[in-house]
């Protein structure tokens, strides 16, 4: 560990980490551009670099982009990255209520805490967890995804039917294309472009960014809903952090744990943490109206997810999320084979990566505090300038994933759908949750049922899977019981509230 720390602290390594974190924050803060795109664009640039430098640059970008998303989520109500979607629900209302600095401070501080706690988990638990993660099977994964789908109902409480409607629509949007389980084509209508179905990035950009751009142009002439910052920055005090330590710890653990599981990215971890924070909160009715707990849960979890996702990446060679697949690709391109042998064959590099992750979080904290005003200025451009520019970046992002205009059409199509759903007061968050989870849920459930000859009762042989199902049931019932006492209120409604 010390050797790795010394390696990561080398001046050149620090420089690459600094460049990675700062570019990640900048790109993460701009709606429509994400860490995945930045890392993919940077990948060819790393060919001539030393492996450690390249990996540290990409880790810095990953950490920076996940954190940078909170700035536009808080000040613009546009999540800079998918992982900061939940931050919009409470970060934006806190900022709109006259405390933008506080909202940013809570987000930045929670990101650091979540990131560092995940780093501790990464350093301490990587070897034993790699052994445990090998035992995660299709029953456990499908049960976990079911748990996340139940959360759709929880976060859409108050308009549960519309939330479920939105989630089902999201699942349906994920159905076209090649079915993972049996390789059959569904709903492609003979189009080659539809073979891969609707890709995640165009759908995300459409539902969350394009619909927001259309909404922006719907408002009064030249208005921009960017929240202006005050003159003084008041970072939340120790009392603020102390009174929410349980929420921070729980959200960081959730973020780390969800990150470890393959295919479940930072956006899901922040959704799960947000839902849990609301479920266990003494004031659940304040969620969605500008509650500190909501901002903390979302930001601690999404940053912790980055560290958590590095555990299976390093120890098993399994990417925790699509972005981690880019990191995995970079490692392979630099002749580093991730997996259980990496610890013994290249321990110095592994510990340098872990130390680099810690340093990236510290750099993120410093850079975000030092540069949040400049970043806010970048996004405090009047709407009539911002809308076309963001659209062009979205177009580049959607086009560059497959070099085809079809993805841009998909983006616009889902943008119009998101705009229409928003007009009908249907929450957009569950749509994305359904879209993201549909494929892995179907695939894992079908595999599990194949293994048990179609018997659902086989779940009793899988205690962890059973625990997830019980947890899902508890999460579904608990808010219903609370609603009887008048505690529940729409959390997700924050994103659909008129200005």
């Amino acid at each position: 560990m010390i050797e790795g720390l010394l390696t990561a602290l080398g001046p050149m390594h620090l420089l690459w980490l600094f460049l990675g974190v700062s570019s990640g924050i900048l790109v993460g803060a701009i709606p429509g551009l994400g860490g995945g795109m930045l890392m993919a664009l940077a990948l060819p640039l790393t060919f001539s670099m030393a492996p450690v430098d390249a990996i540290l640059l990409l880790i810095g970008m990953h950490v920076g982009s996940v954190s940078g998303g909170l700035i536009s989520a808080t000040l613009l109500q546009m999540p800079g990255t998918p992982s900061s979607v939940m931050t919009t629900f409470d970060g934006y209302p806190v900022a709109r209520n006259g405390h933008p600095e506080r909202a940013l401070g809570l987000g930045i501080g929670s990101s650091l805490i979540g990131g560092l706690l995940a780093g501790v988990a990464l350093a301490a638990l990587a070897p034993p967890l790699s052994y445990w993660a090998l035992k995660i099977g299709p029953w456990e994964l499908s049960a976990l995804i079911l748990c996340a789908l139940v959360l759709v109902a929880i976060i859409a409480q108050g308009s549960m039917l519309k939330g479920l409607f939105s989630a089902t629509l999201g699942i349906i949007a994920a159905l076209p294309g090649l079915a993972e389980s049996d390789g059959q084509l569904r709903y492609t209508f003979g189009s080659d472009d539809m073979t891969a179905g609707f890709r995640l990035l165009p759908v995300l950009l459409g539902v969350f960014v394009i619909s927001q751009l259309l909404k922006e142009s719907d408002k009064a002439l030249g208005s921009a809903s960017v929240i202006r910052l005050g003159r003084r920055f008041s970072f939340p005090g120790l009392q603020d952090w102390g009174s929410h330590w349980v929420n921070l710890l729980r959200s960081s653990i959730i973020g780390t744990f969800v990150g470890i599981l393959p295919g479940v990215g930072a956006s899901i971890s922040s959704m799960v943490a947000y839902g849990m924070a609301r479920t266990f909160s003494k004031t659940p009715e304040r969620f969605g109206t500008g509650h500190d707990e909501g901002v903390m849960a979302s930001e601690a979890a999404n940053n912790a997810n980055v560290g958590g996702a590095m555990i299976p990446l390093i120890t098993l060679g399994i990417p925790g999320a699509p972005v981690d697949a880019i990191l995995l690709g970079a490692m392979v391109m630099h002749q580093i084979q991730p997996g259980p042998l990496l610890f013994t064959a290249n321990a110095g590099l592994v510990w340098a990566m872990i130390a680099g992750y810690f340093i990236a979080n510290l750099l993120m904290f410093g850079l975000m505090l030092a540069g949040y005003r400049s970043l806010a200025r970048i996004i405090t451009i009047p709407a009539h300038y911002l809308v076309p520019v963001v659209f062009v970046f979205c177009l580049i992002g959607a086009y560059s994933i497959g070099n085809r205009l079809f993805d841009v059409w998909v983006m616009i199509g889902f943008g119009v759908l998101g705009y229409a759903l928003d007009k009908a007061r249907v929450p957009l968050g569950p749509f994305i949750i359904g879209f993201v989870l549909a494929t892995p849920f179907e695939s894992e459930l079908r595999t599990a049922l194949q293994l048990s000859d179609g018997s659902l009762l086989a779940i009793v042989d899988h205690p962890l899977a059973l625990a997830f199902v019980v947890l899902a049931a508890v999460m579904l019932i608990l808010p219903l019981l609370r609603s009887g006492k008048g505690a529940a209120a729409p959390a997700i409604a924050a994103i659909e509230k008129p200005e």
């Binding site: 664009l41 259309l214 300038y385 520019v389 070099n403 079908r446």
Partner: protein, 123 residues
């Protein structure tokens, strides 16, 4: 049986669920309206003509690139028209045109020459 669920199971389940939920939402809305919890017409403001025009402009922008117009030219045209359209003031045009040029030609140069990313009409 090798695959007891099959490819059609989830789409069918989703279709039934969507129908039931849609019916539920309709009933809920009617009940809320009946009990006075919702106004007779619960809309969130009319869609501005500018929004429809912007959507049409986005589609025209994409069609232009489908027809083979370079990204830089199409983007310059789109941005130069979109800014005054959203703002509904021609006075922003002197600033909109340089922004459009910088974004159109600048981003094409940056992405194709620095990041080596293909853009529509640049291959």
């Amino acid at each position: 049986m090798f695959d007891p669920v099959g490819s059609a199971a989830l789409p069918i389940a989703c279709a039934i669920t969507l129908l039931l939920l849609g019916a539920g939402v309709l009933v809920q809305t009617r009940l809320q309206r009946h009990s006075g919890q919702l106004p007779e017409v619960a809309t969130r403001g009319n869609t501005r003509l500018a929004t429809i025009a912007l959507l049409a402009l986005m589609i025209a922008y994409l069609l232009a690139m489908h027809l083979g117009i370079r990204f830089s030219l199409a983007t310059t045209g789109f941005v130069a028209l979109a800014i005054p359209l959203i703002c509904q003031r021609l006075s922003v045009l002197p600033l909109a045109i340089p922004i459009a040029f910088i974004l159109g030609f600048g981003s094409e140069w940056l992405f194709t020459s620095v990041f080596f990313v293909d853009l529509p009409g640049t291959r």
